[in-house]
Every structure is written in C-alpha cells, then in structure tokens.
Amino acid sequence: MGVVENNWEPKILAFCCNWCSYSGADLAGLNRMQYPENIRILRVPCSARVNPQYVLRAFMRGADGVLVAGCHPGDCHYSTGNYYTRRRFLLMQLFLEYNGVDPQRFQARWISGAEAGKFKTTVTKLCEEIKASGPNRKLRDAK
C-alpha cells in the first residue's frame, strides 16, 4: 500500500433501492441526522437491479468502497429481489477477494424506509472502516 495523501478522503458509492434504503436515507435527512460527506447515493428501483458489473466499474474507476442497500429480506417491494441481491453479493465478495481487493470494501445492508438511524450508523461505520483501509489502488485503472 502506497503513501496516503495527507488529507485524503474516501469516496464511497451507495446503490440504494428506491423503496426502502433510499427512503431511509431521505428520512435521515428529514431528521437532520449527520453523517460523513463521503457517501454518494445512486438510486436504483431495487437492489436486484445492481449488476455486479457496476460494482466492478466503480472499483476500477477508483471507488474506495461500494455499498448495496435494499429492503429487509421478506420485505422487498418486488417481493423477491433482495434474495437475488444477497446471493449475488456473496459471489461478488468472493470474486473481489480473488482479485486481491479487500472484500470488506464491498458491503450489502438491509435498511428499511423507517430505519433512518440505521442508515446513518451504517454509512458512518463504513466510512470509518474504509478510511482505515486507505485508498483503493488495486483495481484502479492505470492512469
């Protein structure tokens, strides 16, 4: 691992499903909960829309961490989508590990539309962990 720039801040991409996690994030806003600025939310209809290809692309472009957040198992707006997400997530973690990327940089979480607090703590913790791991250099495009 190379030298970390002095005031380096990680940039983390969060895929949030429209019905649960995205609205949980909205609720965190309504409640004026504070969390680190490092997170960039990308809205998808369902966590099952997240193609592993997107995750890979994010890491290649330089994402330091990627979060996929969906409804709780059993509560999916589309009834079964998050079950696919769960399986794809496990495979994707193995794949990343195989490629030498710390699989902890890629996380999946179930956050409902009411769990503003969980949204806040999840992203806060993730930011701390990624900060501790330093910047992602492994898959980053050669520049």
Binding site: D26, E37, R40, R49, N51, G62, Y84
Partner: protein, 660 residues
C-alpha cells in the same frame, strides 16, 4: 447533440444554508453537454417552473436536471413541467440535494463538493435518457371474486353496490364458507347463520352479481384491467333453470352418505343441498355416490322431479370471460391433526373431536339438533376438555403460526358447555391466551367467571380408561403434573391455507408466503393487494383471522377495486424491462426470476441466408412488468435492459464520479 439544462434549487435556506448553490451551478457549466445552468430560490414554485419552461425554449434544451429535494417528492412535478414545455417528461433527472446532502451535513465546503458530484451524476445519466412513452390499457370494469366465504361475499356485495359487475366463483355447491357452519359468534354471541345467510341471499339476488357455484378458476392470462379467465362449471346434473328447489328429490334419494357439512357426523342423500339455507337453494348430484351415475340403476330423482330438472347427461363446462380485477377470498382449511398428533390418539378415539365439529353439534340446525353429546355413545358429557394450539405455534408437528381465532372460540365453547350442560366442568389447556380484538378480553373474563378451568400447559397424552378419556399434562404455572378425566375432548386445530390455494396462486400469477398464505404486496402499507397488479386479498386466504377482520379486509379490497374501476384506462409505467431481440438467445433464464410472470418466450421469425427461421426470444409484457430489473442482471447475453435505469445510464453515473 445533447443540450442539458441544470437548475439548482435553494429551497429557501434548506439547501442554500449548507450548499453553495451558485458555486454548484457554476461548476455544472463545465460538465459535458451542459449548455445552461442556474440557481433559483424555489424551483418547484410556479415562477420556478416558469423559469425552467422559459429556459427550455430559449436555450433549446433537450435534457433537464433539477437539483433540489428528493425525487420521491417532486419528480412528478418537474416531469409535468417538461411535458408542459413540450418535452418528453422522461428526458429529466433529479438530484437529491436536500434530504441526502444539505440536511445531513454541516461543513459547507464539503457539502458543496458533494453536491457538485451528485449533480455530475445526474448530468451524466440524463445524457443517456431516452424518450419513454406510457401505454394506455383499457380497464374492463368487471370483477372476479374467487371464494364465497364471508370475505368473498362481502367483497362482491361492496363492489356490486358501487355499480360494477361481479362474478363470484365458489367451488362448493353453496356459498357461505365456514361462517354459516358456526353456531354463535364471539364476542357478541349472535347466531352465525342469522347474520350470514341473509348475506348469502343478498349475493344471489344482487342484479350486479353473477354467482357461479360449484365452479373453479382454471386459467388466468393477461394483466391488470384485462384478465382473461377460464372458469370450469362442474357438472351439477340438475338444470338450475328448471329446478325450483322444492327438495322432493332429496327426500326420495335412496343412497345416503356421510354429510361433509356436518363433518361426517350426520348423513345426506346423494342428490343434496349442503344445508337447508344453502345458496343457490338448489341441489346437485354427488356423482361419486349416485347409483344412477355409478352403475345406471336407480333414477328415482328424475322420476319424482316435477319440473324435469334432473339431467344425468350433464357435463363440465368451460366459460371464458374478461375481468379488470380479481379478489382472492379462498379462506382456510383446518389442519389435519389425525396424521400428526399420536399423543391425542391419531383420531381413533371417537370422543376426541375438533372445534368445528363442536360448532356443528351445538348448532340447533346441526346433526344433533344442538345437543352436545359424545359421538361414541350419544351421552351428554359432564367434563369437557379443550386443547388449544393443535397444529398452531407448533413448528415440529404443525405450523409456526398462531391461528388467531382459537383462543376466542375456545372461550366461547367452554362457555357454551358450562351454559348448556348442568353441573358440567370445562378444562382449557393453553399456551397463552390471546384476546386482541375489541370486546375480546371481556369475553374471556366472562368465561373465567363461568368457572372454566384454564390450565397453562400442553397435553402430553390422551388415553382411554373405560368410558373416560384421561388427559395427562403439566400445569406449567404450578409446575405440577396433572391428570384430567374427561368425557369429551375438543381440539382447537390450526387454520391452514385452503386446499389447492398454492396451485390457484400459480394460476393467477403470484406467490404465497413461506407458510402458504397469500402474500400481501406490503405487510403494512399495501395489506390487501398482491404484488401482482389488479389482484387483491380478502379474508383468511391472506392469513388466519376472525370474521370482523375478514369483513374489514374484504371491504378494503373492494375499495381498491372500485378505485381502479373509477378510471377509464390505465397508464402504465414506461420504466419497464425491454428485450433486445437481436441479442436474446432465448435461454429463458429471466422468465422464472420475474415475480410478476411478465416474461414469456415467444417465437420470432427472421431471415437467415435468405431463409425464414423461427427462434425463441424473451418478451416482456408491459402491463405486468413493475420495473424491478431483477431479470436484467440475470440475462447472460445482456439482452434485457431496464428503461429509465439502463446499464449505460448507471455506468455513466459511476464513470462521472471519478472519470469526469
């Protein structure tokens, strides 16, 4: 050429206090494709929207990004603004600067930096937005209700009263379901038949309701607003257009069999109505037992029928019809305890009966004329023991679920024993007493005042000693082993999904939950809808419940149907999956993943080397697809994409964050 306009909203000070909106607007000017960028105090206000419309005209914009509050709030508003300016409303993206940026951060510099990133993502995405057009599908304003228990009847009546046509399909010879079988109903103890049979008559007489008894739904195709349904009318062997329901045939029929309606406790003829107040009030012939139909000998009913209504040549008939909405109301069955509970004798002790058998017995129109007796010898029992949760809350032998009505009906039964039989004793073995409804706790208290003995513990064994049944149990409150000598034992057996309900769900196009009950679209917010558009739920098919809850839910389902029918046509959401047929290999992986049965393999013809060949490709039905995108990820050749959330749109967003 993309000509993107970016509009940054201050939302008063909601955004502007923590995000430097001017700076964001300035930064946006350098993003690819952006030809105009500005900030404004309230973008959603009338003047704000006018500014957008004006800019679209003067700068010839063909893509618009508004960065303001959450799209869950004002996305529809701004889409309308675009439409008002003559643009396709889907050439629009919204950036969430309020809920997901200004409100959750306080460092203005960092929040502004993040806001610039978020706008960047939207600008990147909007470049790839295509024009999308909703489909309009006409709504066939006729409802199909499947199951004619109290829930199905209530839903049918409510929809019919609102002026819409309803077809009610019931597979038994009569509607009514379980409710008219019951004697009295908790918590008010009003006579069950007295309040349910008038409803049955209302259904039969309603000008807007077509009642199809002894019929089953065989096939459902299509989607919300337009379900094509095939219904099998099973052969009744009685021509209902001629039959007057006089009942002469029933009295003359020589072949008697156990009566299902009385759960085998009485007999009925082979040409029969299930019970006196059955609706329709006309008999059917039980083909399995009728002598004429089995071996050609008999024919008494045809001979005595004064109107010539008996027709031994009758056959099943398939009817096709189109409906705009479907209400599922197939109710419940009772858990078959005989196969599971060896400790209660596997059903070999005649004096161990179920709660529903008890209901038939105390019912004045039941097989014993309302007398509580021991089935073995007809004697009046003095000590009656009730065992609750037989198959409920017992994942090992039965179901994990609570059946919700048993605590109350057992309190009712114990009260009835103590009320009807002098110097009787009632023991109730329970795990917990759950009395959640209005007036329920008071009802249970009354049964305790009647001196019913409640013992907390499961019965571990029942055996016969002379004429008595000995129950061995542990009283878990005093930690003592106890033994009760009873004359009659009544089991509160679990409610389970009705036979065939899983297959029916498959036919209609949705999935039951883990326990086989019909799954609602959302457990809190959409409790009477299924995930499949236009299919609604009423009564116990959704999960165990009592009559008040079944009726309330039926009314709610009816209201949903009426809401749907108040529209002339339905605008579909154009953000659905779309197949690129050229790339699709027809492997079919996507189809079973779809929770809405929206994907089918169809044949396409194409010219290859001058010859026509046929091959299979996936096809998405826009009326059914809800736009989740689960199929898109599973597609091996990448032939399915989700409009509005296309691969290139999302990848562009990702790229923008780091590569722009």
């Amino acid at each position: 050429m993309r000509r993107v306009g970016v509009f940054i909203c201050h939302c008063g000070t909601n955004i502007a206090a923590t995000v430097d909106c001017q700076k964001v607007a300035e930064a946006a000017k350098s993003f690819p494709g952006v030809v105009f960028s500005m900030d404004y105090k309230y973008m959603c206000s009338d003047p704000g929207q006018a500014v957008i419309k004006e800019a679209i005209k003067t700068h010839n914009l063909n893509r618009v990004v508004v960065a303001s509050c959450t799209p869950r709030m004002h996305e529809p508003t701004f889409r309308k603004t675009l439409a008002g300016a003559g643009m396709n409303p889907y050439l629009f993206e919204m950036t969430n600067l309020r809920e997901q940026c200004s409100w959750v951060h306080s460092d203005k510099e960092k929040a502004t930096e993040k806001a610039i990133d978020l706008v960047k993502m939207s600008v990147a995405k909007v470049q790839k937005n295509r024009e999308l057009f909703p489909d309009y599908i006409p709504i066939n304003k006729k409802a199909l209700v499947i199951g004619g228990g109290i829930a199905g009847m209530q839903a049918a009546l409510d929809i019919a009263d609102a002026g819409y046509k309803v077809t009610l399909v019931e597979r038994e010879p009569t509607i009514g379901g379980k409710m008219p079988m019951l004697d009295k109903t908790f918590p008010t103890m009003d006579c069950s038949a007295c309040i349910s049979t008038p409803k049955m008559v209302d259904v039969a007489q309603h000008p807007n309701i077509e009642l199809m008894s002894f019929s089953e739904v065989q096939e459902v195709n299509g989607f919300i607003g337009n379900f094509d349904v095939k219904i099998k009318k099973k052969a009744k062997y009685v021509d209902y257009s001629k039959c007057t329901g006089c009942g002469l045939c029933e009295t003359k029929c020589p072949k008697k069999v156990p009566n299902e309606y009385d759960l085998g406790m009485g007999v009925r003829p082979s040409i029969y109505k299930p019970f006196a107040q059955a609706v329709p009030s006309k008999p059917i012939i039980d083909a399995k037992n009728c002598r004429k139909l089995v071996n050609g000998k008999c024919g008494v009913c045809a001979k005595v029928c004064p109107t010539g209504a008996v027709n031994y040549e009758d056959r099943d008939e398939i009817i096709s019809d189109t409906f705009g909405a479907i209400v599922m109301a197939t109710g419940y069955d009772l858990f078959k305890w005989e196969g599971a509970y060896g400790e209660y004798g596997y059903g070999k002790f005649p004096d161990v009966i179920t709660g529903l058998q008890f209901e038939r017995m105390v019912n004045a129109s039941g097989p014993t004329g309302g007398k509580i007796i021991r089935p073995s010898d007809g004697e009046e029992p003095k000590t009656v023991a009730f065992i609750k949760c037989v198959g409920s809350r017992d994942p090992l032998k039965g179901k994990i679920t609570c059946s919700r009505a048993c605590c109350m009906y057992t309190a009712k039964h114990a009260h009835q024993v103590l009320d009807k039989i002098s110097e009787s004793k009632a023991y109730v073995f329970y795990m917990d007493v759950r009395t959640v409804g209005k007036g329920y706790e008071e009802f249970y208290e009354n049964t305790l005042h009647d001196k019913a003995v409640y013992v907390r513990g499961r019965v571990s064994k029942i055996y016969q000693e002379g004429k008595k049944l000995i129950l061995k149990a542990e009283d878990t409150l005093s930690c003592k082993a106890i033994q009760v000598k009873a004359d009659l034992v009544v089991l509160a057996t679990a409610m389970v999904p009705s036979a065939g309900s899983r297959e029916l769900a498959q036919i209609v196009g949705f999935l039951p939950d883990l326990n086989g009950w019909y799954q609602e679209a959302h457990p809190k917010l959409r409790p009477v809808e299924t995930p499949t558009g236009g299919v609604f739920l009423a009564g116990t098919c959704q999960g165990p419940k009592d009559i008040p809850d079944s009726v309330a839910q039926a009314g709610a389902a009816a209201a949903k149907v009426m809401g749907l029918f108040s529209n002339e046509q339905l605008e579909t959401n154009p953000m659905t999956a779309k197949v690129n047929e050229t790339i699709c290999s027809g492997c079919g992986t996507c189809a079973p993943l779809c929770p809405y049965k929206a994907i089918q393999l169809i044949d396409v013809q194409e010219r290859v080397h001058g010859k026509f060949v046929e091959r299979k490709v996936a096809h998405v039905n826009n009326g059914l697809c809800q736009g989740c995108g689960a199929c898109t990820v599973a597609c091996r050749p990448g032939a399915i994409d989700l409009q509005g959330y296309q691969n290139d749109q999302i990848l562009e967003e990702v790229d923008a964050l780091w590569a722009w």
